[in-house]
C-alpha cells in the first residue's frame, strides 16, 4: 500500500473522489480506491498473506472436520478437562484483553477526556472484535452451538454464573456494535444513524461499564464452581471475580498499546497525522492507567493468598510457576512502566505492554488448563488439531481486524461534509462560544472542525 500511496494513488478517506464533485462508489470504497487489479497485486505482494493462506489451507478443513465429525475428531475430548484451548485461550484470555472498549469509552465519554479521542475508536474496535471472536471460539467449542440462544429463549438457569455471562456478553456485543457503528455510518455515508448513536452514547457507555464489570468478574466466578480443581494459588474463595476483573484493566489497556504498535508499523499509510502525532503521548497515558491496574492487581492477588492463608503453596513447584507468572506478567512490567513512563521511553513502554498481555493470557491458561486438576497425576496437553484450529481462528480474527482498519475511519479521520447537517454542534468553533458539546459525541470536535474546514473549501 505504501508503494501505491507513493505513486500517488488516491486512497479512500472521504465520500468524494473529487472534492465536491464525484463520489466513491461502494465497490471503490471496498477496494480502498484501487483498481481491482492493483488491489490483488498489493495483496499478493504482502508476505503476511502467504502465511495466512498456509494457515487457512490447513486450518479451515480442520474446522469443517470438527463440525462434521464432532469434537472428538479434533480435541482430546476429555471428561476431566472439559474446557480446552478453545475456551481457555479463545474466551477466557481474549475477553480480558478486550476490556479496552469500556475503558476508553469511560475515559472519553464519562470523564470528558477528549484528548484520548485519537485512540478511542481503536480501543472500541479492539473490544468488539475481542468479544466477537470469543463467541466464535465458543461456537466451535460448544457441543451444540446452534442452541446458543437457548438460555435466552428456551430454558433459563438464572442461578448459574454462565447464564449471566451469556446474557451480558450478548448485550455487550450489541452495545459495542452500536459504539463502533459510528465509524461505519461515516464510511457508508449515513449521518442520521451516526447522530442517533451519538444521542445514546452516554447510555451505551454506562451500560458497557456495568456489563463489563459483571461479566469480566463472572468469568472468574465460573472457576468458583471448581474449588478443588483450580490450584489454590490461582483460586480465591472471596476475590476470584475481582482478580479477573482487575487484571482485565491492564490487559485491555496494554492490548490497545500492542495493537497500536502493530498498526503503526504495518499500516502507517492508513494512519493520519492526528493518530500518529498523538500516539506516543497517549501510549504513555494508557501505560499510566495500566500501571495502576497492575499494582492493584498485584496487591489483591497477595491479599487473596493471605485471606485463605495459602503461603505454603509458594514453596512448591506450582508456587515457582506462580511466581514466574507474577514476575514476568505483573512485577516486571510494573517496574519497566515505572522506569519508562518517567523517562518517556515509549519503546520500553510498548515492550512492557506486550509483557502485560502475555501475563494476562498466561494467568488464564494457568487457571483453566495448566494447573487445573492439580491433584491429578497427569496434565492434559491439547492435541495438535486443537492448537491448529485455535491458530486458524486467531488468524481470522487478524484478517477481520485488518479488513476493518483498512476501511473504516478508525486510524484516520473521515473527511466528511455530512457534518454540515448537524450545524449547531459546531457553533462554538465559528462563534467562539465556549459551550462544549455534551460528551455524547465521538470525535465531535475534530469532525466538526474538518466539516467546517471542508465547508470553507467547497463553496
Amino acid at each position: 500500500m505504501n508503494r501505491h500511496k507513493a505513486n500517488g494513488v488516491k486512497i479512500v478517506d472521504s465520500h468524494y473522489k473529487v472534492p465536491g464533485k464525484s463520489k466513491w462508489g461502494l465497490k471503490e470504497k471496498l477496494l480502498l480506491g484501487l483498481t481491482p487489479w492493483q488491489y490483488v497485486i498489493q495483496a499478493v505482494r504482502n508476505p503476511f498473506n502467504w502465511i495466512l493462506a498456509a494457515i487457512f489451507a490447513v486450518g479451515l478443513p480442520l474446522i469443517a472436520v470438527r463440525f462434521i465429525f464432532g469434537l472428538a475428531s479434533v480435541t482430546n475430548s476429555s471428561y476431566d478437562y472439559p474446557w480446552g484451548l478453545f475456551l481457555t485461550f479463545g474466551l477466557f484470555a481474549m475477553v480480558p484483553l478486550s476490556s479496552s472498549g469500556f475503558m476508553l469509552g469511560t475515559t472519553v465519554e464519562i470523564f470528558g477526556r477528549h484528548d484520548f479521542e485519537p485512540i478511542e475508536r481503536l480501543a472500541l474496535l479492539n473490544g468488539l472484535l475481542g468479544y466477537l471472536f470469543a463467541v466464535v471460539y465458543l461456537l466451535v467449542d460448544l457441543g451444540q452451538p446452534w442452541r446458543l440462544p437457548y438460555p435466552m429463549v428456551v430454558a433459563y438457569g438464572p442461578v448459574a454464573v454462565l447464564f449471566l455471562v451469556g446474557w451480558h456478553v450478548a448485550t455487550y456485543l450489541s452495545v459495542q456494535v452500536c459504539e463502533v457503528s459510528v465509524s461505519f455510518f461515516e464510511w457508508i455515508g449515513f449521518p442520521l444513524g451516526k447522530q442517533g448513536v451519538r444521542r445514546i452514547t452516554l447510555g451505551l457507555t454506562v451500560a458497557g461499564i456495568i456489563l463489563s464489570t459483571l461479566h469480566q468478574g463472572a468469568l472468574g466466578a465460573l472457576y468458583n464452581y471448581a474449588p478443588g480443581k483450580v490450584h489454590p494459588l490461582w483460586y480465591s474463595s472471596a476475590f476470584q471475580w475481582l482478580h479477573f476483573f482487575v487484571s482485565s484493566i491492564p490487559g485491555g489497556l496494554c492490548m490497545v498499546i500492542v495493537v497500536s504498535t502493530i498498526v503503526r508499523k504495518t499500516m502507517a499509510w492508513r494512519c493520519d497525522a492526528n493518530f500518529l502525532d498523538n500516539l506516543d503521548k497517549l501510549t504513555i497515558s494508557l501505560a499510566k492507567g495500566a500501571s495502576m491496574g497492575l499494582i492493584t492487581y498485584l496487591v489483591i492477588k497477595l491479599m487473596g493468598i493471605a485471606h485463605d492463608n495459602k503461603w505454603e503453596y509458594l514453596a512448591t513447584g506450582y508456587g515457582a510457576w506462580y511466581l514466574f507468572e507474577m514476575g514476568i506478567g505483573v512485577i516486571l512490567p510494573l517496574a519497566l512502566f515505572a522506569y519508562s513512563i518517567r523517562r518517556k521511553m515509549v519503546g520500553l513502554i510498548r515492550f512492557s505492554a506486550f509483557l502485560t498481555v502475555f501475563g494476562v493470557v498466561l494467568n488464564r491458561l494457568n487457571t483453566g488448563m495448566i494447573t487445573f486438576n492439580w491433584k491429578m497425576a497427569e496434565r492434559e496437553i491439547p492435541t495438535l488439531r486443537e492448537a491448529i484450529i485455535s491458530i486458524t481462528l486467531f488468524s481470522i480474527y487478524i484478517v477481520t481486524w485488518r479488513f476493518l482498519l483498512y476501511r473504516l475511519p478508525i486510524l484516520y479521520t473521515w473527511k466528511t461534509a455530512d457534518e454540515r447537517a448537524i450545524a449547531p454542534a459546531r457553533g462554538y468553533v465559528t462563534e467562539g462560544n465556549a459551550e462544549p458539546s455534551m460528551a455524547g459525541s465521538y470525535r465531535s470536535r475534530i469532525n466538526d472542525n474538518v466539516a467546517w474546514i471542508a465547508s470553507q473549501q467547497w463553496p
Binding site: 476431566d80 470523564f111 442452541r147 454464573v161 454462565l162 454506562v206 465460573l222 476470584q240
Partner: protein
C-alpha cells in the same frame, strides 16, 4: 419441587419474615435434601469387585458393549472414572492393612448438585425421590457441569457431531426410582454392598453398623455432609483418602462458593448507572454563573 423453586421459596420466606410473618428470618439457607428422598448406602467393606453392578447398569441404561467383558479383572490395573459408556465403574485400591478394597463410583446425587447450579439452561433437576436427572433436549454443551462436579462424574458424548449430550447415572429414575424401585446395580449386587432406602434411614443404618462393629469401620459416613450432603453414602474400613475419596472437600455445597458473586450482581446493576452518570456530570458539567469559571475542556 425443584431446587430452584425451593430457593425462590426461601426468598419468599425472607420477604414474609420482614412482614412479620414467622418464616425464615435468616434469609437463604442451605438445602439438606427432600425429607422423602431416597439414597443408597455403599458398604465398601463388603465389596469383592465382581463388577456385576457395572454389567447391570450397562444393560439397564442400554449402553454400548464394553471394551473388555465385565468379568475381566484386568481393568483394575488402572483407576477408571465414569464415562459416556459406563455410568458406574468399580476401582480397586491396595489399601493397607488388609488387602484390596473395591469402590463403586457413580453419580452421588448431591442434595445441592453443582451440575444443577452451574447449568445456564436448567437442564438438571433434583427430583423429590433424590435423583439428579438431566434433560438432553435443552443442553447446549458448554460442559460447565463437568467443570463443577466435585466428584468428576459426568461424561460427555464428544464423538457425536450433531447431538452430543451429558451422560451420567440418573439413579435409574425413568425405569425404576420413579416407581419406588431400587436401581439396577443395587438389585443385582450379590454381596449386599448396596442398601437402598430413605436417606435418613440409611444414615441411621450406617451409624448402627459403625457402632456395632467399630473395628470394621472408619467412624465416618462419606456423603452425609460433604458438599452439602449426597444421596449416595459410603462406609469404609480404611481411611477414605486411601480409596480415592477427596477428604479435603468442604461441607458447603459448591453453590455457596458463587453466592458471594451472585449477590453483587443486582447491586452493580443498580448502583453503577447512578455512580457513573454522576461521575460524568461531575467531570464535564461546567459551573454556571457562580463566579468560579470552571476549567473548560481543552479546545481543539
Amino acid at each position: 419441587m425443584k431446587r430452584r423453586d425451593f430457593l425462590k421459596g426461601c426468598m419468599a420466606c425472607g420477604a414474609a419474615a420482614t412482614l412479620g410473618v414467622s418464616g425464615n428470618a435468616w434469609g437463604i439457607n442451605s438445602f439438606e435434601g427432600y425429607p422423602e428422598g431416597m439414597g443408597v448406602l455403599v458398604d465398601l467393606t463388603r465389596c469383592v469387585g465382581c463388577r456385576s453392578c457395572e454389567a447391570a447398569c450397562n444393560k439397564e441404561q442400554k449402553l454400548p458393549a464394553p471394551d473388555a467383558p465385565f468379568d475381566d479383572k484386568s481393568v483394575f490395573e488402572e483407576k477408571r472414572r465414569p464415562t459416556e459408556k459406563a455410568y458406574t465403574v468399580v476401582n480397586r485400591y491396595d489399601a493397607k492393612p488388609g488387602g484390596p478394597v473395591y469402590r463403586k463410583i457413580q453419580c452421588n446425587h448431591c442434595n445441592e448438585p453443582a451440575c444443577l447450579s452451574s447449568c445456564f439452561v436448567n437442564a438438571y433437576t433434583k427430583t423429590k425421590e433424590g435423583a439428579v436427572i438431566y434433560n438432553p433436549k435443552v443442553c447446549v454443551g458448554c460442559r460447565n457441569c463437568l467443570i463443577a462436579c466435585p466428584f468428576y462424574v459426568p461424561g460427555y458424548s464428544y464423538s457425536s457431531a450433531f447431538n452430543p449430550v451429558v451422560k451420567k447415572c440418573i439413579f435409574c429414575y425413568d425405569t425404576r426410582l420413579k416407581y419406588g424401585n431400587p436401581p439396577a446395580c443395587v438389585e443385582v449386587c450379590p454381596q449386599e454392598v448396596l442398601t437402598f432406602g430413605h436417606r435418613n434411614e440409611l444414615l441411621k443404618i450406617g451409624r448402627d453398623r459403625i457402632r456395632e462393629k467399630p473395628d470394621r469401620y472408619v467412624d465416618h459416613i462419606f456423603g452425609e455432609k460433604e458438599v452439602g450432603g449426597t444421596s449416595w453414602l459410603y462406609l469404609a474400613g480404611v481411611n477414605f483418602d486411601q480409596v480415592g475419596f477427596d477428604t479435603t472437600m468442604s461441607n458447603d455445597p459448591i453453590l455457596s462458593n458463587v453466592k458471594d458473586f451472585l449477590g453483587i450482581v443486582p447491586m452493580v446493576l443498580t448502583i453503577w448507572p447512578a455512580l457513573f452518570t454522576g461521575f460524568h456530570l461531575l467531570a464535564t458539567k461546567k459551573n454556571h454563573g457562580d463566579g468560579h469559571s470552571g476549567q473548560e475542556d481543552p479546545k481543539p
